[in-house]
Amino acid sequence: MSKRNPKEKDIHRLRGSWNVVFNLIAGIFAFLCVFPFLFVVIISFTDEGALARDGYKLIPSQWSLEGYRYVFQNGEALLNSYFVTISVTVVGTLISLFITALYAYAISRKSFKYRNFFAFLAFFTMLFNGGLVPTYIVVTQLLGLKDTFWALVLPLALNAFYIMILRTFYTTSVPDALIEAGKIDGAGEFRIFLKVVLPLSLPGLATIGLFSTLGYWNDWFNALLYIDNPNLVPLQSMLMRIETSMQFILQNSQNSSLSLGAMQNMPQDTARMAMVVIATGPIIFAYPFFQRYFIQGLTIGAVKE
């Protein structure tokens, strides 16, 4: 694009009043998108007694760290869930990248005789699926994954959509000539893939990897379906179960030596909201830095074949 001279730039601009209106529309909507998170952060720092008195307030009458203190003191379950989520996310993303990168590369190569068949094999799964019940039966009864780590990893490991995105990426950013040159130099297909194609498609892999990471981090559905073992409960699923588990702690402490007063002081609402903040915090802080990869993925994804 040629550089415009300043005069031209001026007529490009919106008139001042419209610019203000547009800024207001975008600004207000952006604020509304962020606001609920801020509100939950505020609640998590509110004193439990103040909550009981006034409800959830934007400016609480009394601040408190009690919710966080409670979460960290009784934190084995939280720590364990963090560990489950992180392991599932890391292992899952690596597996997902491995499978997707290979599959997409093979069907992007014109020299692969069966590329159309395998492209269709992937594409058809976007049009039709067996539904929840047969999938559940295959995973639990045929593969025997119920209550295992792999029930959280494998169902999300591949997605035809990612394959399509990555294939588009390969065909647009890795020139055929480069691959041919590698072949003339006597490199095998695997070697070319590792040494030539992968380094050139790092941004594409990063996009897929980040989508996958987000998918694993935010997943609760597979845990809802397949996990009963409390040691395998990921963060999001723990947030779901926390209602019942708080009541469980309460009931149990009735039998133990805890005094009635200590129980009533248990910061239920604030502790819950503190957990929401702790579970979402990493994403909220990380996403602005990775945003461009998601934008890239979304825009490539919207481009058809």
Binding site: Q141, L158, I284
Partner: protein, 310 residues
């Protein structure tokens, strides 16, 4: 002939090895479940001899599961809910995302526009569980913000989680809150890709900003709008499970307005144990969904070949 096939296989062995892990995954997590939909025509009994034995030994009942499903009021309610919500999501979502994309593209201060965009993108990164908590902070009966606000006007607190009449609005609002920001990204990227010289020519002819948006931006967005809408129509029989399950906190009194095909199938599997009927509902969803994608794509191909998906 067979020799030629084997020779071809050998010639492509590296590529075949590359697609092997993915093919296995598709086999187990996509194609076997497709075959498994045969359960919809059976009275499923779990057999200890394993997966295949369970399917083969279960009694064949033909279309009985479907007959039961469609004789209940549920089939009507879940179909209606799924379709109507999706129609609202698609139309309102499209209008709002395009408006936001145009607004963002016209903002003079690009740094500020980027900040707005980052803010709008946030809900996309949150799980429905977390969104459910957000909703609760507004809708809790005794502590929520909404009842505080209605309290200022002297209204009695409302039990939001047990009154179905408000939920269609809540669900549409919450969906739009989560989806519009990231959908607008796609349109914004398309706007950025429009040739600037078109606008320059329009300005020389004295076109106002509004005229430029109407006669250049929107027409140039038409192909991408068509594709996005087509994709959405293909999925109109699928609902976002998290939105309809987590956000209303699985509240039974709200089922009349929150039960969609996906939640119905889930509850059939996990809560009520009606495996046959649940599979039947899932197959009904897949088949109608498939027909919808194929038809909408066919229509678009007729009208404008370049906008078709495949």
């Amino acid at each position: 002939m067979i020799g030629g096939f084997l020779k071809n296989l050998f010639k492509n062995k590296v590529m075949l090895l590359m697609v092997l892990p993915g093919t296995l995954w598709f086999l187990f997590f996509a194609y076997l479940p497709m075959l498994g939909t045969i359960i919809a025509f059976k009275q499923y009994r779990y057999s200890r001899d394993g997966f295949l034995a369970s399917i083969v030994q279960s009694k064949w009942v033909g279309f009985d599961n479907f007959k039961f499903l469609f004789s209940t009021n549920d089939a009507y309610v879940i179909t209606r809910n799924t379709l109507l919500y999706n129609v609202a999501f698609i139309t309102l979502g499209l209008i709002l995302s395009v408006i936001l994309a145009v607004v963002l593209s016209e903002i003079a201060n690009k740094k500020l526009a980027k900040v707005y965009q980052t803010g709008m993108f946030l809900p996309y990164f949150l799980s429905w569980v977390v969104v459910g908590y957000f909703a609760f902070s507004f809708l809790s009966m005794d502590r929520g913000m909404l009842n505080q606000i209605t309290g200022w006007f002297g209204m009695d607190p409302i039990q939001w989680y047990s009154d179905p009449k408000y939920w269609p609005y809540f669900l549409v609002l919450i969906f739009l809150w989560k989806a519009v920001g990231y959908n607008s990204v796609v349109y914004l990227a398309a706007i950025m890709g429009i040739d600037r010289s078109l606008y320059e020519a329009a300005m020389i002819d004295g076109a106002s900003k509004w005229q430029q948006i109407r006669s250049i931006t929107i027409p140039m967005l038409k192909p991408i709008i068509t594709i996005m809408t087509l994709l959405a129509i293909g999925k109109i029989f699928y609902a976002d499970f998290g939105l309809f399950y987590q956000v209303p906190r699985d509240s039974g009194t709200l089922y009349s307005v929150t039960n969609v095909i996906d939640t119905y199938v889930y509850r059939g599997l996990k809560t009520t144990g009606e495996i046959g009927m649940s599979t039947a509902a899932g197959l009904y969803q897949s088949v109608v969904g498939f027909v919808l994608v194929m038809t909408s794509n066919y229509i678009v191909r007729k009208v404008d070949k370049d906008s078709a998906l495949f």
